[in-house]
Amino acid sequence: MSTILSIQNLRKSYAGGFEALKGVNLDIEEGEIIALLGPNGAGKTTLISTVCGITMPTSGTVTVAGFDILSNYREARRLIGLVPQEIALEPFEKVINTVRFSRGLFGKGRKDSAVEDILKRLSLWDKRDNQIRELSGGMKRRVLIAKALAHEPRVLFLDEPTAGVDVELRKDMWEIVEQLRADGVTTILTTHYIEEAEAIADRIGVISKGEILLVEDKDTLMARMGKKQLDVQLTAKIDAVPDALSSYDLTLGDDGWTLVYSYDVNAERTGITMLLNDVQKAGLQLRDVVTRQSSLEDIFVSLVNQPEAAQ
């Protein structure tokens, strides 16, 4: 795999002095799906806007397939498709015309078969002659994606593609991203839905206050940062953790009906067998045993609150 997008020490300060990006470094491999996760105002959109040419970088370099976004902007921008966060479409224009326009604007000659293919893939073919204002919100988002894909880019930016979108459409979006991956399109999406990153990304970057806190394979991140919990549900309520079990890291949950045991998945010994033996010895009756893994959401919250955890 080769690096398709390389961001080096990218800084962006706005006129008011606000520093939205504080030296971002990020290399993105061709064909991967990377999710940039961060709270509102973290700099996700500024990062995308700067790479795409909508805002000017204050310093640093960005190259797309080796083309600098400033000195070789034509070559660089031809390779990029952008789906913005806000729905911005000409309301009175027909779907097919606006997609043709995008293709032409990015320098590709008119090719009806290519436009047809894109519209069909996004289930927009039946709506091609409709005015955009007649479409539902979900359909409008599809039009935005169709426009971004109209010039057959190699890198696609999706800025919060599923913000305010219903569950069904969100699943559709994920499928579209999967399809694009099969075509070899590199996708960079920003989201503050952890579920989304967890569902579709290969790698996850966490961005907060204009800095990338970490970038890691999703599975590695989940394994490294993930904690597991064992809930031991009891048949009778207890008031306190019995003395016989005081050597374990236990808390009482569910008003005394559950013993909660936290352990590290990566540790050599998790201590579960001994714990369960000792629970029995202490004279407690088990009703059920449940394990839970901390979600990306928990990891994310702990990262944003304690950036040193990323090190």
């Binding site: 706005y14 040419g53 909508i54 921008r77 952008l82 911005a88 326009f101 032409g104 426009k147």
Partner: protein
């Protein structure tokens, strides 16, 4: 040059024009007809010929200029303001195009629309007055140059404007007075000497004078001066747009 992109913008803008062709044409044709009725028939009947031309015919070039200038400005300013307003400008800014290509697309389309309407006005005037065009080539040249230069000016206004009120402000406060005081309905020589001198600072005077010369061979200022004025105005607008895109003023942070 990304000709494909220029063409895409041009076609997209012209589609908008043809979608609303009825509105685009009815209003200028109606107002021009009213001018002919009021100035040409009612008032004009009491005015002698102006420099050998009947008053009704005399005002035709000025009326066309009036329409073409306001149309050029409003089409181009709206054309670029609307994407800013609804947010679709993101696509333009992220596209592999430079400022000249964006301007050629938008201004080209706006100028074409203005020219189209100007020609319709000319055709309308044939129904009201008897006119002959002495120098059709010069007439077309002046028409094209005026359409382009005022569309360029409108493009600047569209980028500058922060809301719809501002979009209307410049045409209303600056252009309409300049055009009315620019000799659309009279010859500058009809004014007292002081006002003649003041009029020389009005750029529109040069355009209307040149355009009228193409029709009737009469002029308030030498034709070369007219050409120079319109050339200068076009260059100024182009320079301003080049600066806007270089600095990102009001469009790119």
């Amino acid at each position: 040059m990304n000709w494909t992109a220029i063409r895409a913008i041009y076609v997209f803008e012209m589609t908008r024009f043809f979608r609303t062709i009825a509105q685009s044409l009815i209003s200028p044709v109606l107002s021009t007809s009213l001018y002919f009725v009021v100035f040409g028939a009612a008032i004009g009947s009491r005015i002698d010929q102006v420099e050998g031309v009947s008053y009704g015919a005399f005002i035709v070039p000025g009326l066309i200029m009036l329409t073409v200038m306001t149309q050029g400005i409003s089409n181009a300013s709206f054309g670029i303001y609307f994407p800013k307003f609804i947010g679709t400008i993101y696509e333009l800014l992220s596209a592999p195009v430079n400022f000249l290509e964006i301007v050629m697309g938008y201004v080209g389309a706006a100028a074409t629309k203005a020219m189209f309407i100007g020609i319709i006005i000319l055709i309308t005037s044939f129904f009201f007055v008897d006119i002959q065009i002495q120098n059709p080539a010069a007439m077309i040249a002046f028409l094209v140059l005026t359409c382009i230069s005022f569309a360029l000016f409108g493009f600047i206004i569209g980028i500058w404007a922060g809301n719809f009120e501002q979009l209307q402000l410049v045409p209303l406060l600056i252009i309409t007075p300049l055009v009315f005081l620019g000799g659309s309905f009279y010859s500058i020589t009809m004014l007292p000497p002081v006002w003649q001198t003041i009029s020389m600072f009005n750029p529109v005077v040069y355009l209307i004078s040149g355009f009228r010369w193409a029709f009737f061979g009469i002029q308030d200022v030498p034709i070369a001066t007219s050409l120079l004025a319109i050339g200068l105005f076009t260059a100024l607008c182009l320079g301003a747009i080049w600066w806007i895109f270089k600095t990102g003023w009001r469009i790119r942070q």
